[in-house]
């Protein structure tokens, strides 16, 4: 009896030790996953598109290691934007960037919660994305099973309207609360060809080809080396820069020349290469590329974005600027000539190219891109709203208007006719970046914007259909153009009413 009572006293002492005195040390033990788990196992706010479609919801489950399972009703459609949240492999997309908002941890939400004490509501509220379900669906359906990306945004605010990349994946698999299944799905995706987990739209850079000529043209306008009408570039078929024997030819070997607008409409290679190499020079080109956002990571609200690359080092200056060649001559002037048409080491994310063209459409101001619009509490009150912010001032308004005019003409009679929509004002620039191979392959690009006649441009897009797996040679106009057109049509068909 005495022995047993002693035993129980010992248990009581040890119970105090474990539950009180050692409790903090145990909570902080690296093997203790309970805090993370508690944090994870709660109902998260719904994620909705701006047109009210549920993209992510929390579902109560009967058994399993957690009570709540996150579900993504549209499977792969929002995998790279809304992302996923998994206890095992972490979170991506808006689920990652806006975790605090989604679990109601921000100061504003906690204050709102306090005022709700008398009327406790278990509803976790919603977060609203800027994405539009109809545009997202069009992007997916139009791109099909071709590796590439579609980005559409509002050039005035930077609100991303659609962002889709193929290959994509079903976030329900990695979000599985069963950690073994989640891990297995994640590892399988990592080993899948083309890495579907990777959001190519803002994480992969590819040579932008002729779409980059918009920047070269802007550099000429901003530096005062060209206006709407002057100079008129001599028609040539090719250009060979000093220090090389490698000629840059026009598409199809045609003769190409005229004023700046004409060069953009006809997408001449030789005059743009010559313009950059001999007239503008490295400093003006680097400046303009960086003003459009190159060499910086865009201030995007999804994590993991990369900076687009425009080369900055052209070696030593060999000749000073002269009357004939205001740019002077550099060791790598031949490289500079190629960058003018978006070749060689120039590489950009589709998001960057969408931002670049948004800068043109928005009269010279590049907006900060974002996918989040609003955080709504359980009572439908807006707790937090993402305010539009400018990112880069890329050119003067008058020059932006000249480029707008040039790209609208390119849409009417140039390489971008496939993207134009009757009844809308559409400006586009195509790009076909050759990446070699036999038969030769190319990335097909288009960047553009659209608006109603006499109104602001409301949508800017960048489409890239990657060339590595393409059947044959593809051009931006033929391949990417129709995708842009469908986005424009859908956007305006829905808001015209």
């Amino acid at each position: 009896m005495v022995v047993l009572l002693g035993c129980f006293t010992l248990l009581f002492a040890q119970l105090n030790r474990v539950q009180l005195f050692d409790a903090e040390a145990l909570e902080n033990n690296p093997a203790n996953t309970r805090a993370a788990q508690r944090d994870f196992d709660q109902e998260r706010a719904r994620i909705l598109t701006s047109d009210g479609v549920e993209v992510a919801v929390s579902v109560l489950v009967d058994d399993g290691p957690f009570r709540w399972q996150r579900a993504y009703p549209h499977n792969d459609l929002y995998a790279h934007t809304a992302g996923y949240v998994s206890f095992t492999v972490g979170a991506e997309g808006a689920e990652r960037s806006y975790d605090d908002e989604i679990v109601g941890r921000t100061a504003g939400q906690e204050i709102a919660e306090l005022t709700n004490v008398l009327n406790p509501n278990s509803d976790p509220g919603s977060v609203i994305l800027t994405l539009r379900h109809d545009l997202q669906q069009v992007a997916k359906q139009q791109l099909g099973e071709r590796p590439g990306s579609v980005v559409a945004l509002d050039p005035r605010t930077g609100a991303v309207l659609a962002m889709w990349s193929w290959p994509s994946f079903d976030p329900n698999t990695v979000a599985n609360i069963n950690s073994a299944e989640s891990n297995e799905a994640y590892s399988a995706l990592l080993e899948t060809e083309g890495n579907p987990l990777r959001a190519r739209a803002f994480r992969d850079i590819k040579p932008p080809g002729s779409t980059f000529k918009v920047i070269t043209a802007a550099a000429a306008l901003e530096s005062g080396h060209a206006t709407l009408d002057e100079p008129v570039f001599e028609a040539t078929t090719s250009y060979t820069s000093p220090l090389t024997t490698h000629a840059i030819s026009n598409f199809g070997g045609r003769e190409c020349g005229g004023n700046l607008v004409e060069l953009l409409v006809r997408s001449c290679n030789a005059p743009f290469a010559q313009l950059a190499a001999e007239t503008l020079g490295p400093f003006i080109m680097v400046n303009q590329a960086e003003a459009a956002g190159f060499n910086s990571v865009p201030p995007f609200d999804l994590v993991g974005g990369v900076s687009s690359v425009y080369p900055t080092d052209y070696g030593a200056q060999l000749q000073s600027p002269s009357e004939v060649s205001p740019a002077g001559l550099f060791e790598d002037t031949p490289l500079l000539a190629q960058t003018a048409i978006g070749q060689n080491n120039v590489a950009a994310t589709p998001l960057q190219m969408a931002l670049m063209i948004a800068g043109v459409a928005n009269n010279g101001i590049v907006p900060s891109p974002h996918v989040m619009a609003e955080v709504i509490d359980a009572n439908g009150q807006v707790v937090d709203r993402i305010e539009p912010e400018p990112w880069r001032s890329t050119m003067r308004e008058e020059n932006a208007r000249i480029l707008q005019q040039a790209l609208i003409e390119a849409g009417q009679r140039g390489s971008g006719t496939a993207a134009t929509v009757e009844g809308l004002v559409v400006g586009v620039k195509t790009g076909t970046a050759q990446i070699g191979g036999d038969p030769p392959k190319s990335h097909a690009w288009i960047v553009g914007f659209a608006g109603r006649p006499g109104e602001e441009f409301e949508i800017a897009v960048a489409v890239l259909v990657e060339g590595e797996q393409a059947d044959g040679d593809q051009t931006g106009g033929r391949v990417a153009g129709p995708i842009a057109r469908e986005l424009f049509t859908t956007y305006f068909s829905d808001t015209s009413g």
Partner: protein
């Protein structure tokens, strides 16, 4: 207060505790609790009141604490099991009915226990037989590494749970018969006085066979428990510390031997000493139990709000961790206190029992239950190496629950006989 009225009041209190626990659990997931709770309360009242009436009828003068304590532990355990795994809860409620039924049956059908002492050798054979059942090919089942189960009509039964009671009966019967002989030492081996082997032999034989079987079945918890039972009973019977000392020496030697020879014993000891060396694999269960308890703190996370299911075997061996996590130090202490009260009551029953057999049996069974609680709670708290036994009345498990109710019935029966003997011949026995 008269014992039956005390019992009734305590049962009302216990019912309130259990129902409050159940309601708070229901409230976590659903904002309004209605019919569910009414049904639960109804069943609880019918069950407890039924058993109470049986005691009133069959053992009116029995101790008033034992049954309410068992009911409280059982009810609390049920709520925690329901919280961990609703599918286990429905079978646990069935086991509870059968357990209370067995309790009532023993009380109604067995008015007196003294005669059982005459069948001590039958009990020894029956006990060893029960223990060996799981070793019969086709009948036995190995679950979670221990060969201690038999399958009957789809149910898994642990005959060892019942064997312990039967063997306690044998020990009580044997020791009451031989205690004078065992208390005298007529042989001297070195410094030790050893009683005649012919008195001692059957005891050692039964003990040896029983322990051997348990070791073969890899049932460390039960072997430890049975050995402790043996020591307690022989000490109470003879009042000779020499038995306990030599028993402990024997135990140490046995422990050392099995530590040296059995991998699974060595592993358990290693995990006990340094569970944090391998918190994700070998030490996982005990490490998670510590984290679980630490999470609970003083007042606990509240029923349904913690993560007690993270601990493997949370509803059976590790249920004390779940209680500590969700009901806190306060709730876990209440469980410890309930066991201490139960043990005190049990020993009080033993000390006042008139017959030697009943005295020994009551003490043995109380010690059995108390040490079982100590071994498993000590395992969870890392006071002892973890060995898989159930927490009496609290853990999930049919065999354990039913056998515990039978133990309870025997204690209640003995306490009633004591009181009746006291009434028949009040005071002044010496």
């Amino acid at each position: 207060m008269r014992p039956r009225n005390l019992e009734l009041s305590l049962l009302v209190l216990g019912t309130m505790v259990i129902v409050v626990a159940y309601v708070s659990l229901q409230l976590v997931d659903t904002p309004n609790v209605g019919a569910n709770v009414a049904v639960f309360l109804g069943i609880l009242v019918v069950l407890l009141l039924g058993a109470h009436l049986v005691i009133r009828y069959a053992a009116p003068n029995a101790d008033g604490l034992l049954f309410p304590l068992a009911a409280l532990l059982n009810g609390l355990g049920y709520v925690v099991i329901a919280r961990l795994d609703p599918s286990l809860a429905s079978s646990q409620s069935a086991w509870t009915f059968i357990g209370v039924g067995a309790f009532s049956a023993v009380l109604l059908l067995v008015p007196d226990l003294a005669w059982v002492a005459n069948y001590r050798y039958t009990l020894a054979l029956a006990g060893v037989g029960l223990l060996m059942l799981p070793l019969i090919p086709g009948l036995g089942r190995n679950i979670n590494g221990a060969q201690i189960w038999i399958a009957v009509r789809g149910f898994s039964i642990q005959p060892g749970e019942f064997a312990k009671i039967v063997l306690a009966g044998f020990l009580a019967g044997f020791l009451v018969d031989k205690r004078e002989l065992l208390a005298i030492s007529n042989r001297k081996v070195g410094p030790l006085n050893i009683p005649d082997f012919k008195h001692f032999g059957p005891l050692l034989l039964a003990l040896g066979v029983a322990l051997m079987v348990m070791v073969l079945q890899r049932d460390l918890g039960s072997s430890l428990l049975f050995f402790t039972l043996f020591l307690v009973m022989i000490y109470i019977a003879t009042s000779r510390a020499a038995y306990v000392v030599s028993g402990l020496l024997l135990f140490s030697a046995g422990s050392y031997f099995s530590w040296r020879s059995f991998d699974h014993v060595q592993r358990r000891v290693d995990i006990w000493i340094s569970p944090f060396d391998d918190p994700k694999d070998k030490g996982f269960q005990i490490v998670e139990a510590s984290f679980s308890l630490a999470d609970g703190g003083l007042t606990g996370t509240g029923l349904g709000s913690g993560l007690p299911w993270k601990v493997p075997f949370a509803a059976t061996d590790m249920i004390f961790a779940a209680i500590g996590e969700e009901l806190g130090l306060l709730g876990a202490t209440a469980v410890l206190a309930a066991f201490m009260f139960f043990v005190s009551s049990g020993f009080r029953v033993a000390s006042s029992a008139p017959g030697g057999f009943e005295k020994l049996l009551a003490a043995g069974l109380t010690a059995l239950l108390g040490f079982q609680a100590f071994i498993i709670i000590g395992g969870v708290l890392r006071v002892l190496p973890l060995t898989g036994v159930t927490l009496p009345f609290v853990s999930y498990g049919g065999s354990s629950l039913i056998s515990n109710y039978i133990v309870l019935a025997i204690l209640v029966r003995i306490s009633d006989s004591t009181a009746r003997a006291g009434q028949a011949a009040p005071v002044g026995r010496g």
